[in-house]
């Protein structure tokens, strides 16, 4: 089963003056279940819009979106919220951690919002933080962590609900080159270890070497 199938997906925004702006135009994309793809394009090309629709943050104007066999094209707000809670992992570009929760709680909050498995979630958070090299930092608040450590906690949070697809939006943009490469190596290792698919949104071509393939997007159109 593919992790993601986009079929003729279109997203149109209506502006304040009544005019329409096409952010994504009849795009088709398939991501296999353990595939890591780089979604590359300049600012404003539509990569974040595509990623947001794949993750159930935005609904498409037209087209079909199927994530791990689940068609979310016509989902309403409540269904999308539940879908994001259970099936998708996110690592955002800027805001990634809840500042009043420590590293471990930033992972267990995913469980609190959803299944509430309690001890099982605690154990899973411990395991994930250990795997990410943060076993001794789990009680640290985000403000006590470095940029790279915060990004690793965010990756841990994205994996907490055991998603079929993880979306990374410019995960290395706030990191220096060396740290960015370390984070990308970590992403690749963790995704491959779990057989989880990932889309890495970036405008940095160097990131693509950590991905299985690259998909370019220009002016809302995908170019394989």
């Amino acid at each position: 089963m593919n992790a993601l199938e986009l079929t003729d997906v279109r997203k149109v925004y209506t502006m304040g003056d009544g005019s329409d702006v096409v952010a994504l135009d009849r795009s088709n994309l398939t991501v296999a279940e353990d595939e890591i793809i780089a979604l590359v394009g300049p600012s404003g090309s539509g990569k974040t819009t595509l990623c947001s629709m794949a993750g159930g943050i935005l609904s498409p104007t037209e087209g079909r979106i199927v994530v791990a066999g689940e068609d979310i094209s016509d989902y309403g707000d409540k269904e999308l919220t539940k879908f994001r809670q259970e099936s998708i992992g996110f690592v955002f570009q800027s805001v990634n951690l809840v500042p009043f929760l420590n590293a471990k709680e930033n992972l267990t909050v995913v469980d609190e919002l959803g299944a509430r498995t309690g001890k099982e979630a605690q154990r899973r958070a411990d395991d994930l933080l250990g795997e990410l090299g943060l076993g001794d930092r789990k009680q640290n608040m985000p403000s006590q962590l470095s940029g790279g450590q915060r990004q690793r906690v965010a990756i841990g949070r994205a994996l907490m609900n055991d998603p079929k697809l993880v979306l990374f939006d410019e995960p290395t943009s706030s990191l220096d080159t060396e740290l960015g490469e370390q984070v990308m190596e970590l992403i690749r290792t963790e995704m491959k270890r779990r057989g989880t698919a990932a889309i890495v949104v970036t405008h940095d071509e160097r990131i693509t070497e950590f991905c299985d393939r690259s998909v370019h997007i220009v002016d809302g159109r995908l170019e394989s």
């Binding site: 947001s52 994001r84 955002f92 929760l101 995913v110 919002l113 959803g114 949070r157």
Partner: protein
């Protein structure tokens, strides 16, 4: 609950300050509520807590017992009214006195004289005693409790000048008049007391008539009938006589205004606090929405915090208020008023939750897409 408690535990100073502010306001509200009730009871407790349902003043008295004089003609008019069940005289005077409880220091005591009846509980007697018995004859009194000059059974009160002695045979709560220690004695004892300090005064006239309606007649109907009878009579029910005593309404209005201000300040402080906090943590809320937190869950978290903050303030404010009700304040007896605590708790919780709905609305407006753009709810 998880998010609400975690946030509060990580920002103890911020939330603690809000609890402290609410606690201070709650303390002030409850303290002033008791102060108001203590003041009014001190002023007119003797009217409220005597057993006559109707009091009849002379119009000239302007609803002040001591200022009212019932002449024999007016008394006859009252006694002639249809629907009157029983009627009696009530006299009042203020005396300088010493008592065995005042360690020789003089005090200003109010003495009310009523017609005892067979059992000492004639019209105008205190409704209820907390100790001792009603007067059965001359030179005996029911004394007021409360304040620095509380009487006890067995005390002797000596009026000055003249040395007229009255023994306390019973005590009752909340029977003060004009915020002074008060004695309820037989009408003839009161008359003798007046003449003992002023031998030239002659036989004093009663200040008011106390009355009860005949069977089948209401107190309100009796009041109407008496007032219709003569333009010089001013009959009032017991509650009206207490509340319309000059000064009482003004005291109540002043306190009501203060309570209204408090009632506005608490929700304003709470609402503003949570609106600021919501705007400050907009990014975190947006992130939570993006990773699957239902908006209602975030609003519930906010409301839990509001209830806990106000609840904490209420508990601490009430705890601060309680000791004052044990010790009292000067001559005023302040009571712990459970009804006031419940009333203000419900009101402040309701207003606090209502005021935080502005912040809740902000939370509901969060669009998870803002997590991808870095724009929060306040943007």
């Amino acid at each position: 609950m998880f998010l609400a408690l975690k946030e509060m535990s990580r920002a103890k100073t911020r939330f603690g300050l809000l609890v402290a502010a609410i606690a201070l306001l709650v303390f002030l509200i409850l303290f002033q509520q008791s102060l108001q009730n203590g003041l009014i009871t001190g002023f007119v407790g003797a009217i409220r807590n005597q057993n006559a349902p109707v009091l009849v003043y002379s119009v000239d008295g302007q609803r002040v017992i001591q200022g009212s004089i019932i002449t024999p003609d007016l008394e006859a008019e009252v006694r002639d009214v249809d629907g009157l069940g029983t009627v009696g005289r009530l006299g009042q005077g203020t005396f300088t006195a010493t008592s065995t409880t005042s360690s020789g220091d003089s005090l200003d005591a109010t003495i009310l004289g009523y017609e005892l009846g067979d059992d000492g509980q004639g019209l105008g007697a205190p409704s209820e005693l907390v100790d001792g018995r009603y007067p059965s004859g001359e030179l005996e009194a029911v004394g007021s409790t409360g304040g620095d000059d509380a009487f006890a059974v067995g005390d002797t009160v000596v009026l000055q000048p003249g040395g007229f002695e009255i023994e306390i045979v019973g005590v009752a709560d909340d029977i003060q008049l004009n915020v002074s220690p008060t004695l309820f004695v037989s009408y003839s004892t009161w008359s003798d007391a007046v003449q003992s300090v002023n031998p030239d005064a002659g036989e004093p006239l009663p200040n008011v008539m106390v009355a009860a309606p005949a069977e089948g007649v209401t107190a309100d109907q009796l009041v109407t009938d008496i007032n219709d009878r003569s333009l010089d009579l001013d009959a009032l029910t017991r509650d009206d006589a207490a509340s319309e005593t000059p000064g009482v309404a003004q005291v109540q209005q002043s306190f009501q205004l203060i309570f209204l201000l408090y009632g506005l300040v608490v929700p304003c402080v709470t609402g503003l606090f949570f609106l600021i906090v919501t705007l400050q943590k907009a990014d975190a809320l947006t992130l939570l929405r993006a990773i699957g937190a239902p908006a209602k869950r975030l609003v519930a978290s906010l409301l839990i915090q509001v209830v806990l903050m106000i609840g904490g303030g209420l508990v601490i404010g009430t705890a601060l208020y309680f000791p004052l009700t044990v010790t009292g304040l000067g001559g005023l007896e302040l009571r712990f008023e459970t009804g006031a605590v419940l009333f203000w708790s419900i009101l402040l919780l309701t207003l606090g939750v209502a005021s935080s709905l502005v912040a809740a609305r902000r939370v509901l407006r969060i669009d998870p897409i803002e997590a991808t753009t870095g724009a929060g709810v306040g943007a």
